[in-house]
Each structure stands twice: as C-alpha cells, then as structure tokens.
C-alpha cells in the first residue's frame, strides 16, 4: 500500500550499508530532493547503483562528497562534470563496478522479475567478462549475468495518483521503471499527485504495486 509523505519521512528508515538504486541519466530523472533528504538522514556505507556517478556538486555528487558511498555500480562514471567521483576514485576512497548500460538495466529488470540470472552477449570477450561464467549458445559467446536487487530505490518521476501509479516525462523515464521493480522499498518523487483515476490506465508506466512511498516535491508538472 502506497503512502504519500515528505522526503524526510520517506527516507527515514534507510539503513547504513543499504544498496540504493538511484534513477536518472545525467540529471534527467534524478531524484534530487530524495537524495538531499538521504544526505540529511545520514545513512552511510551505501552501495549506490546509478547510470552515472554524479554530476556537478548536487544530488548524487553531494552524497558522494559526504563520503556516504562505499561502492558505485554504474555504466558511465566519467563525465565532464564528475569531479567529485573522480577525486574519490583516484584517492582510493570509493569502489567501482562498471557494468554495460544495457546489462545494468537488464540486471535490474531481472531482479524485479524474479529471474536470478541470464545469459547475455554484451561484454563477452572483453575485460568486463573477466572471471564470469560464459557459455556458447547458438554459436555465440554469452556471459552469465546476475540480478541486481536493491534495498531501496529512489526514483525521480513526473506525476502519481494517490494510489501510487506513476508516469514519467520524456527521456527522464530512463531507469525509473526498472529500478521501481527491483527494490524492497521504492520511493518515488513526483512534481504532483492527482486523484486516483486521473491517470490514463493505458499509459501508466509504473503500477502502484511497485511503489511504497510517493513524495510530492513540486516543480514542472
């Protein structure tokens, strides 16, 4: 059952050592207000799964700067404005697991879909497959990849109804829908909350079954 609450309430029970899935591709879909609340809340020793490793000095980068993250699992940490991560990485203060972007998305989907492992052609024969089980299927080499579940997902979305159904906006959708399925507790920040029945049932992207907490944060709706 989905509750509508404040960012502070929503992140209150995130424990030290949690695996936190953070949506967004660059800043599009990044749950900035939820991350700010998590920073205030103080949980540390986190593993963060997100496509990038923070941009500029806000959001995920600010969480990293506070040294709350033990390990990043992402596809593309190095960007023109990822100086916070870069510094921590070069000084050996953060672990990094690099995963091809599509494999990252598929491992998250698998976690949400009850598929513990799957064979994947991506990365076969590269250093990202080092040490992994491989198998030739239909004449092609594949890597066995495992589901990547989270304790908590922090998702930036567009709008929700009071029941907890969620829609996204344009390419800000990106990782939100798969991360929402992959965590034990899913927290979604939205620009606004509408009455149940006000969203088109054919166009709901994340049904309420995946959503535990909705945090209205205002902004573009």
């Amino acid at each position: 059952m989905t509750t509508v609450c404040s960012a502070t309430e929503a992140v209150a029970d995130i424990a030290d050592g949690s695996t936190v899935l953070v949506s967004g591709f660059g800043m599009a879909g990044m749950p900035v207000e939820l991350i700010d609340a998590l920073i205030s809340q103080g949980a540390t020793d986190l593993t963060v799964v997100s496509n990038n490793a923070g941009n500029g000095d806000t959001g995920l980068a600010a969480l990293l700067a506070k040294r709350r993250v033990r390990k990043m699992i992402c596809s593309f940490p190095r960007q023109f404005d990822s100086w916070v991560f870069d510094g921590l990485y070069r000084s050996g203060e953060i672990e990094l697991e690099v995963v091809p972007q599509g494999t990252l998305a598929e491992r998250l989907r698998a976690a949400g879909a009850g598929i513990p492992a799957f064979f994947c052609p991506t990365g076969a024969g590269t250093m990202l497959a080092d040490g992994k089980e491989t198998r030739e299927i239909d004449g092609r080499l594949h890597v066995l990849e495992y589901a990547l579940p989270g304790d908590v997902a922090l998702v930036g979305a567009h709008r929700a109804d009071r029941l907890g159904n969620v829609v996204y906006r344009k390419t800000a959708r990106n990782f939100g829908p798969v991360m929402a399925t992959a965590a034990r507790t899913t927290i979604v920040q939205v620009a606004d909350v509408v009455a149940t029945g006000q969203l088109d049932p054919e166009a709901i992207v994340t049904p309420s079954i995946f959503v535990d907490r909705i945090v209205p944060v205002g902004g573009q709706a």
Binding site: M1, A113, G114, I115, L163, G197, P201, E202
Partner: protein, 213 residues
C-alpha cells in the same frame, strides 16, 4: 458445522491484510472478491494484464477486450492499469503479489501443491498461470474441500498428482478446518465442525494444535 463455499470465501477475505495486492485463481477463489470490504483497499491483479480489476461486467458493461484470467468480462476500478503479459508475470514471479488464492487437487504436509493436472493418461495438460502464481506470490492460500467426493483427504503426506510447485503453500482453507503449513509442520488454525482429534483421525498427516487451542 462445516463451512459452505461462501462462508469459506468470506473467511479468506477477512484474512487478507488491508492494502494487499491479490490474485484470485480461476473458479472458486474468484468468489473471495465478493467478501472484500471496500475499506480493505485490496487491489486485485489479473494475470492477463491488469491491476485494480473490478467485479464481473453486467449488461452494457460487457467489453470483449476486458476480461479476467477466466475470460469472464469484468469492469475497471479507479486507478486501474494495463500491462503486457511479460510485465504481468514479472510482477508475479518477482514476488510483488502479497497473496494468491488457488484451488487444489492436493496439498502436501510440506506445502507442495498439485492443482493443474490429474496425471490421467488421456488428460490434456494445461497449466496456464498456476505454476507462476504458486512460485511467485509472497503467500499462497489454497481454498478447497478437505476431502474428495469419495471421501479421501486432499491434505496428504505427499502429493500423488503432478506438482504445480514445491513447498509453496502457506495456508489451506477447507470446509472442515484451516491449516498453516509451517517449517514445524501442519498447524490447525481453526476447525469448522470436526474436533482436532477428528482431524487427526481423518488425515494421514501429523497435526499441531495452534497456540491457544
């Protein structure tokens, strides 16, 4: 007095926690929906791709594009959503449903479920979503008569019919008693007519009295 089918459905409905996401199997379990109170805020899932499914459609409401898993026309409830079959079963297999209610031919003392195939040589096997439900739902409730028409127990030491799932049943609601399948054994939660001793006599399965009985 043993429970009638409607009383059984009502008893199951009472045990479904507020706000649960629930799948009701084809046939008898469908009737549980009739006893869910509005304020229980239970959301029904139908595996053919819908959440917040409403009751059976009547008259002009009938729409061939909107049915439940038993292919019976139904209606929408506010806040419903549609999704395709892979997403629907990902929901199930991924452990997002709180409860499913299914019928059964047999349940074993360790929670094995047999409800899809009689094993008869001339039977046409047809599993549908039964294995997915049995495997995926967080809690699997079975709704059945305790005895077959010719008086043999359906709660058994080991299933003789082909299995739907292994160690997947959590609770068994029957006309004569309600059982919890636990790591310690089969616990009799409530009796409807027979005494605990009657049930021990009837069943070839060791029974444990619920605390407080």
């Amino acid at each position: 007095m043993s429970l009638g089918k409607e009383e059984l459905a009502a008893a199951i409905a009472r045990d479904i926690p507020t706000g649960s996401f629930v799948n009701l199997g084809i046939g008898q379990p469908t009737s549980v929906a009739d006893y869910l109170e509005d304020d229980a805020a239970v959301v029904l899932h139908t595996e053919n791709g819908m959440l917040n499914m409403g009751p059976a459609a009547v008259g002009d409401q009938v729409d061939p594009d909107l049915t439940n898993a038993g292919k019976i026309p139904v209606v929408e409830l506010p806040g419903c959503s549609y999704f395709h079959h892979a997403d629907s079963f990902a929901m199930m297999r991924g452990g997002h449903l709180d409860v499913c209610v299914m019928g059964a031919y047999q349940v074993s003392a360790t929670g094995d479920l047999a409800n899809w195939h009689t094993g008869a040589p001339d039977a046409i096997p047809a599993v549908g979503g039964a294995m997915d439900l049995a495997t995926g739902a967080k809690r699997v409730f079975v709704m059945m008569n305790l005895l077959t028409k010719d008086g043999r127990p359906k709660l058994v030491p080991e299933c003789t019919y082909p299995l739907t799932g292994v160690a997947c049943v959590d609770r068994v609601y029957t006309d004569m008693a309600t059982f919890d399948i636990t790591p310690e054994g089969v616990v009799v939660l409530a009796t409807h007519g027979p005494t605990f001793a009657d049930l021990e006599e009837l069943l070839d399965v060791p029974l444990i009295a619920a605390t407080g009985h």
